[in-house]
Amino acid sequence: MMTAFSQISMARSQQIYSTFVNGKVITKQAYDLYQQTFIESTLYTELYNNLDHFTQLYLHIGYNLNFNIEGEFFYISRSEAEEDADTNATKIQAILLIIARYWVDKGFDLDDLTTPVIGLGRSALEEIAEQTIYDDIRQALGIETWDKALNYLADRNFLYPCGDKHYVLSSAGMHFLNLHVEKYSQEQE
């Protein structure tokens, strides 16, 4: 049963639209800097509860609504392939991989990246910036500085700031890393 337009919160639907067209993902939980905790996203709940409605809505205006169940996030894309979009995905994936590589290299657990009290701190960011290989990759992505690289992820909701120069990975960001761990585990079996 499709939900009628009258039953959808217009204000939320507008917020969802403006988040999507800005190229962001909507995750189930978003970190709230003031409450210092992850809180459930009302936009995600709205999308989740009225999935058919929003899927149809976005199809009607020329987009696909992508719902990632394991990663618990939504985003929209156009059906035709666009080069810009692939460039974006490359940047996001590569920066996430750099963060993850730094993290496992230290012998840390990747899950700690999603824990606000641990997260990606100032010293970690400094150490990443110091390594030549990471710096070379950043340049080959066409990103001028590390601040811009992190903002690139934060602007799209892959990272949430949780303090001064302190970030925590969103479920969308973590999903990509989990994907690699699962892929590796399957190859090993």
Binding site: S77, E82, D86, I92, Q93, A100, G107, H180, V181
Partner: protein
């Protein structure tokens, strides 16, 4: 080796003074899980140690550690030949003393060792239960049996206690090992070290910690007879039955002590369990990310081999298949017509400017130029002057698109207007402060097109803004 003989005490005191020799020997034996050490190994270890000492010490050590001297002092119980090798067997009590000096030398309790100890206690219990003994200290059989029982219990308690100390230090060792691993720059070394420590710790957990824990578990049921606590309880009731309250209390104390060991060893086994689970998870994560990262580095390498490509290709993202198509999307354009005052003012002032401009033009009508064959330079100069005059007369105001305004003007007033005239006009305009009349020129990033014949020219819009002083 020296011919001199020393008594047991001086020999032993020299061994104690240089206890690291024995520590290394015991470690060697433990690692090989053998109750003896090969003479060749022993001598080579001794030589290595002796080299760092002065002459007098060297002589003293050679004397004390010579095989013959050790045998004579009863520190070695036997020296045998086996398969062409000479093996030295130390007295157990000597080895025991050296184990006391170093936690790492405590022997791990195995399932078998524990079962043997339990077997001995069961045997003693069976004798006490057989009703063939007189429960009296004056009975020598009974006295010997009781002494043996207490000896065994205290030995068991002690060996478990020492093992517990060693196990409790595992966490420290683990963190040291992982620190060592983290310090290595080579990620492969890290991965190998991690795997090795996981293997070592799994073995310790399955062969030593878990059996000890099970042995100390009150609730464990054994196929071949009563468990340790059941034995202790039976012993306690036997003593109580014969009104021997002191010994009955002693049994209770043992029960309490063993029980407290159980809770301590449970803690160790839990933390080791968690460490193993975490380590395995981390190792998997490490390998997975390392694989993915090496693909990324390959892509980076590709940009270095190809001059045309300075950036990592989008194929990388497509292969991984996450977040494809994520980008900013264009919003619907709104038609910018409105009835607001500001908007209308803009339209009106634009019209006014055009009318005023036209008026100025009417006043100074220029003379048409007629071409002739040989005066091309003159003609171009005249034409340039003509354009200059047209531009000079232009009414300067805030144009949204200066190029378009200029084109309109030139196109309608210049015969055989050509695109090049527009460029010339713009050139005049933008270089002359007089014509600009206090307006600033802003080249914007907005683009527009103009058509000349069959050609479409794309240009960046130029805006003029009044500079308020």
């Amino acid at each position: 080796m020296s011919e001199q003989r020393l008594l047991t005490i001086p020999t032993f005191s020299i061994m104690l003074e240089h206890h690291t020799i024995m520590r290394d020997i015991i470690r060697e034996m433990d690692e090989m899980s053998e109750p003896y050490v090969r003479e060749a190994t022993f001598i080579s270890r001794l030589h290595r140690y002796i080299q760092g000492q002065n002459k007098d010490k060297q002589k003293q050590l050679r004397t004390a550690f010579s095989t013959d001297n050790l045998l004579a002092a009863h520190i070695l119980v036997d020296k045998d030949e086996f398969g062409g090798e000479s093996r030295l067997i130390f007295d157990r009590s000597v080895i025991g003393v050296f184990r006391l000096f170093d936690h790492s030398l405590f022997q791990d309790l195995t399932d078998v060792a524990l079962k043997i100890q339990l077997g001995g206690i069961r045997l003693l219990l069976a004798k006490l239960q057989s009703n063939t003994l007189l429960f009296s200290d004056s009975d020598l059989d009974f006295k010997e049996l009781i002494d043996e029982l207490f000896h065994r219990l205290s030995e068991l308690l002690n060996s478990i206690r020492l093992n517990l100390v060693k196990m409790q230090m595992i966490n420290q060792e683990l963190s040291e090992a992982s620190e060592l691993a983290a310090k290595s720059d080579n990620p492969q070394v890290f991965s190998v070290l991690q795997r090795e420590s996981i293997e070592k710790i799994s073995l310790l957990l399955s062969r030593h910690i878990l059996p000890t824990r099970q042995f100390l578990d009150e609730k464990s049921r054994l196929k071949d007879g009563p468990n340790l606590f059941e034995c202790l309880q039976s012993l306690r009731s036997q003593f109580e039955h014969h009104q021997d309250h002191q010994r009955s209390t002693a049994m209770l104390k043992y029960e309490v002590s063993f029980n407290s060991f159980h809770s301590q060893i449970s803690k160790v086994s839990q933390s080791v369990d968690q460490f193993l689970a975490r380590s395995k998870k981390r190792l998997k994560q490490f390998n997975a990310i390392e694989t993915a990262f090496s693909d990324l580095v390959k892509e980076l390498g590709a940009t270095r081999h190809n001059l045309k490509r300075s950036q990592i290709d989008g194929q990388f993202a497509r292969d991984n298949g996450a977040f494809l198509g994520l980008m900013q999307q264009g919003r619907p354009k709104v038609l910018r017509i409105s009835s607001s005052e500001a908007y209308l003012n803009n339209v009106v002032s634009d019209i006014e400017a055009r009318v005023a401009d036209q008026g100025l033009l009417e006043k100074n009508r220029y003379v048409d130029l007629i071409s002739s064959k040989d005066d091309s330079t003159e003609r171009r100069l005249e034409r340039a002057e003509c354009i200059y005059n047209l531009v000079k007369q232009m009414k300067m105001t805030e144009y949204q698109d200066l190029t378009l305004a200029l084109q309109r003007r030139l196109k309608s007033n210049l015969p055989e207007y050509h695109f090049i005239d527009l460029l010339e006009g713009l050139n005049f305009l933008m270089r002359s402060n007089e014509i600009l009349d206090g307006h600033a020129v802003k080249v914007t990033n907005f683009r527009n097109r103009i058509v000349q014949g069959d050609t479409v020219y794309l240009y960046r819009k130029i805006r003029t803004e009044r500079v308020t002083q």
